[in-house]
Symmetry: C2
Subunit: 356 residues, 2 copies
Amino acid sequence: MSSSSEQDFARYLGIHRVIEPRGTLPQPAWKLDNTPSAYPTETLIYVQKLHIDSASFTQIARMCELDTERMGQHIMDIVTQRGKMHNPVTGSGGVLLGTVEQLDADFGREHHLTIGDTIVSLTSLSWLPLSLQRIHKIHLERAEVEVEGKAIFFRSNPLAKLPGDLPQALVVAALDVAGAPARVAALAQAGQKVTVLGAGGTAGLLTLCALRQKLGSNGVIIAIEYSERALQDIVDLHVADVIVQADATHPLDTIEQVRHACFNDGYQADLTINVVNVPDTEFATILLTKPDGRILFFSMATSFTTAALGAEGMARQVEMHIGNGYMPDCGAVALQLLRDYPTLRTIFTKRFGASI
Amino acid sequence: MSSSSEQDFARYLGIHRVIEPRGTLPQPAWKLDNTPSAYPTETLIYVQKLHIDSASFTQIARMCELDTERMGQHIMDIVTQRGKMHNPVTGSGGVLLGTVEQLDADFGREHHLTIGDTIVSLTSLSWLPLSLQRIHKIHLERAEVEVEGKAIFFRSNPLAKLPGDLPQALVVAALDVAGAPARVAALAQAGQKVTVLGAGGTAGLLTLCALRQKLGSNGVIIAIEYSERALQDIVDLHVADVIVQADATHPLDTIEQVRHACFNDGYQADLTINVVNVPDTEFATILLTKPDGRILFFSMATSFTTAALGAEGMARQVEMHIGNGYMPDCGAVALQLLRDYPTLRTIFTKRFGASI
């Protein structure tokens, strides 16, 4: 690679915006330059909404005891300190919604954009320089923050234009977690028993539908959820074969309940999808899966060492994946599920409203 | 599950030894009861050696500035505080070597053990209650600590008996990392281009040999290593097709060097194995792999969120695995490589000595 194309690649990834530590990539960097103006190769977005990653929002809400003023101040502090919305405790971000204000020509061609288009980021907020002028409102029930701000996209960052036929709030919520259903649709195989831990969350519900669509009637879906309200949504959705209420942070109790719900039919899954939003569910996940099965960890609260050493220590050769939130057209898969499953859309509308 | 078989399962996993937090599994628990006597269902091992996980040992050595007295004290402090050798910074453990002192009958039957047998743990030290009476010596060059201590094995924990034909120190070093070559032997496919990051470490060298054995002449192996001494070992081993010296914590430089070494033949791998022992190598790993390729992260220094959000933020759908250190017979795979590759054995002997 010539020196100039090496520089191009660095700009493409956004390294030029990293203040600290110098030379790292934007996602893991401590601090980014969030100057709200597009440098060459960049695209500037006028930001209207942040949809905070579930693990991050849960942590902030708990820390601020659900006081939205304190939460708003805490979010402003993170963004001021780091130049992006990147929760230092959970390491996760979320997605944003906004309109194109300054547009890099290459980026515009690749994504078919023009100035004024409304877009949703498909990359984590932990990657994007962000400055916030104001926080208008925090919606606790849907992890949404209405803001005025500016964000920078690099040429490497994926995004999606808002489709015309679905309400904005639903699109943002679905795109934040679009990787899980898309990846699951690719990996699940006919005839499998598939368990979803945290099945009542946003990612969980989409994943249940993606599984049902892939498996048809040829497979068993076990949905595990802790919240009673979310359990009712799973019941209404009518796609899961077995529904279990359990707290995945208590592995032995969870196994007991799943075993009970499966009668004598074997409680262990060929494929287990972990989409919870709290820590300490690795063991339940491993124990609920066949020793030669497969696990996709999508939860941003997953601990690499706990999963690795836990499986090893229990002599389980289960294959474990770090859930990659990117699949080509993953946005399209998630949005199509909202169209294909009217009940899913109803549940999302109830949860995320139909705000513009 | 009846209440008594639920209790059996809990004892099988070792929950009864967890002091804090109550009810968790031993591996993630903060503190275990390390009383040096076998309770019902347990097996007591008289411990002679600890082989500390590479990421953990590197961290301790750096922190104590290579002063072995300070390191010994630090290890004693961890074990006193936690009841096990579980590095709170890296979250990793290592393996132990010792002899059977008190033997649970079921465990003995399953592993064909008798009192006095010499064994090596195949589970991480982060799982096993350990008490240390004394530290005799620390061998910096091979992450080995000669000790007097007692450890408890639960019925769920795998271990391996020492084979008669290989020196102890080599066996311990190989078994600590046996999961990587075993898993790689299962996953690599003929015709693939496979890259190993951290190829000069213990796990790296075993992995290179496992790959060559699996691929035969039908595939390309790229070995990436930072240390000059270790690079020479890779050269001597004669199994890698391309050898690159690079610092994987600098992703763009690393790509440049690999690209250069591969001429015009494409630098991205179908399968990349990460067995480094330092943090911040996720991006290099992702960028060195084809977008539709596969990555096995074995390094205990891997950050789940950095890997997940990094791939997502760069629009890469690469499949990423949490390297599971357990495979059935994984000990056997690693030890057989030491027999099949005399040069590997020579290098291991040089590194780990031929101590009894």
